[in-house]
């Protein structure tokens, strides 16, 4: 009997073409805008807008702030969540559903609600916290990153045998810190990297909290350029795309295992 290889259904072709056009056109249009001179109808193509971006001091200033913020958020998140999730998996598995439930809370308290509460709660706190991105914004971003970090790390810890690794390490005389850093951490490296890339993508695109709390991060600069200069904004937008895409594709590359990408709701919008 001949093995019959089914052909693609016509309706499937139509749906996929429609989706492809919808997803592709805005990317193409952004590229098209970024290559235009500052006049409608001028001939294609010029790298003028990219030069504008590279020579813009505010661009470098704000992207530096956002990038350092992302790194700070990643470090605080990992310091906070890795020991917690490790401990929960090792000693108090009953707490795991509690943590999973808490990771859903940011869905109910989205950034726009969170920032209202944070501004109210921390009004009047010292200047170094309330008026500095490294204080106020970073603490808020750790909460934003919490669901991604939790689900990513949780999947990582579930994939390894926490008990055996810990017992082996301890019976050889290792201290808790040695066990955590030398034994556990290398084994959940992929999950931690995945969490870090997600956090990077979220922080580099976060607009809501920064705008309401009046901090000048990269997305705020992008919005300012959007409002004032259409064509350089194309180049800047494309760059912003590439940051998000770079972070997310790295995530997919390091985390080919299932589960590493279970968290999908982001904070950038």
């Amino acid at each position: 009997m001949k093995i019959h290889r089914p052909r693609m259904a016509p309706s499937a072709v139509v749906w996929l073409l429609l989706a492809g056009a919808y997803f592709f056109l805005p990317l193409y249009a952004t590229l098209d805008f970024s290559l235009k001179k500052n006049a409608i109808g001028a001939p294609c193509c010029t790298l003028h807008n990219y030069g504008w971006v590279i020579h813009n001091g505010d661009f470098w200033h704000t992207i530096k702030i956002s990038f350092i913020l992302a790194l700070e958020t990643i470090v605080i998140s990992l310091l906070l969540f890795v020991p917690t999730i490790y401990w929960v998996h090792l000693k108090v598995p009953k707490l795991r559903p509690v943590l999973a439930f808490m990771a859903l809370v940011p869905f109910v308290v989205p950034p726009i609600v969170m920032v209202v509460g944070l501004l109210k709660t921390f009004k009047g706190t010292p200047h170094w916290f309330y008026a500095e991105p490294w204080g106020f914004l970073a603490t808020a971003y750790v909460i934003l990153a919490f669901p991604y970090t939790f689900f990513s790390l949780d999947a990582g810890f579930r994939a390894i045998d926490v008990h055996t690794l810990t017992e082996a390490s301890q019976s050889l005389g290792a201290k808790w810190t040695t066990t955590l850093f030398k034994v556990i951490l290398p084994n959940i490296r992929t999950a931690a990297l995945g969490a870090a890339f997600l956090t990077l993508a979220v922080v580099m695109g976060e607009f809501t909290i920064a705008n309401l709390a009046a901090f000048h991060t990269f997305p705020i600069f992008l919005q300012y350029v959007n409002e004032s200069q259409g064509f350089p904004a194309g180049a800047l937008t494309l760059l912003s795309f590439m940051i998000t895409w770079g972070a997310m594709l790295s995530l997919l590359l390091v985390g080919r295992k299932r589960g590493a990408r279970s968290a999908v709701i982001a904070g950038a919008r």
Binding site: T84, G230, L249
Partner: protein
């Protein structure tokens, strides 16, 4: 205990601020208890902002769910090459995490007044802003069109495992027993997919309901709750912060109600996801 720093942190930066919004919603300017802020939410213009948010969320969640389901099914079903599926899920993983200011600009460049697609039509002698569909990007429909750019990928990501759960043996068993295609969908396919579909709907609804940056960038006058809240803080009109807190509290109530429906649905959907 080793979990203490974590609980202290979430208490200080998540639960206390969230609680302060709830308390503040019921206080007047001198911190006395009052229902007047909540009462105001049901008055013009605030109730209109809630209706605006609900409309945009319902429209984009409905369209996102239905179109996303068909696109995901088209990519997964037999006959479609495997690479299409992996390209689509990879792309969706990226696009679902992407939105805000860059997304708004991408749509301005595409279907804005000077956008690439708008220009194509205009050069062909057809002005889409005057004749059908009379499309304006800086309007509710424009915001909805842009939101779908992250709603569709989210739906594809969430529903793909459920479609995978429709086992080929079930279809073979059904057809061996003489079932027609529609009978398979009516008695097996749709009932199995339904909990995942409804769960995804709630996820998409909340996703659009909470969104701020994309709408802000497209139209700062868009009458939806996040933008009204934002105007209180960015527009120097903060004479009564408790009203902003009440507006935020209203959002919380809507999203919490969604979550209460979502959790049992999620449990039901997990039954077939083995």
């Amino acid at each position: 205990m080793a979990t203490l720093p974590f609980f202290a942190y979430t208490l200080a930066f998540l639960f206390v601020p969230a609680a302060s919004v709830m308390v503040g919603a019921f206080q007047d300017k001198r911190d006395h208890a009052t229902f007047s802020n909540i009462h105001l939410l049901f008055q013009h213009p605030y109730i209109d902002a809630y209706w605006g948010s609900l409309r945009i969320s319902l429209v984009t969640a409905t369209l996102g769910c239905i179109v996303g389901l068909f696109v995901a099914y088209a990519a997964i079903r037999d006959g479609t090459p495997r690479w299409i599926r992996s390209v689509l899920t990879t792309f969706s993983g990226v696009a679902a995490n992407f939105g805000g200011i860059p997304l708004a600009f991408a749509f301005i460049a595409t279907v804005g007044p000077l956008g690439v697609v708008t220009t194509w039509f205009r050069n062909a002698g057809y002005d889409t802003s005057v004749r059908w569909p009379q499309f304006q990007l800086f309007s509710e429909r424009g915001v909805e069109l842009a939101y779908l750019y992250f709603q569709l990928p989210l739906m594809i990501l969430v529903i793909a495992p459920a479609i995978d759960g429709l086992k080929r043996e079930w279809r073979e068993a059904a057809s061996n027993l003489g079932a027609k295609q529609w009978q398979f969908w009516r008695h097996v396919g749709i009932p199995v997919l339904m909990p995942s579909f409804l769960g995804a709907f709630i996820l998409l609804f909340g996703n659009a309901f909470a969104a701020y940056a994309t709408a802000y960038s497209l139209n700062q006058g868009q009458n939806i709750v996040p933008i009204v809240i934002g105007n209180y803080y960015t527009g120097n009109v903060l004479d009564n912060p408790h009203l902003a807190q009440a507006l935020a509290f209203g959002m919380f109530v809507v999203l919490a109600a969604m979550m209460l429906v979502y959790i049992p649905l999620q449990r039901r959907a997990a039954r077939w996801a083995k």
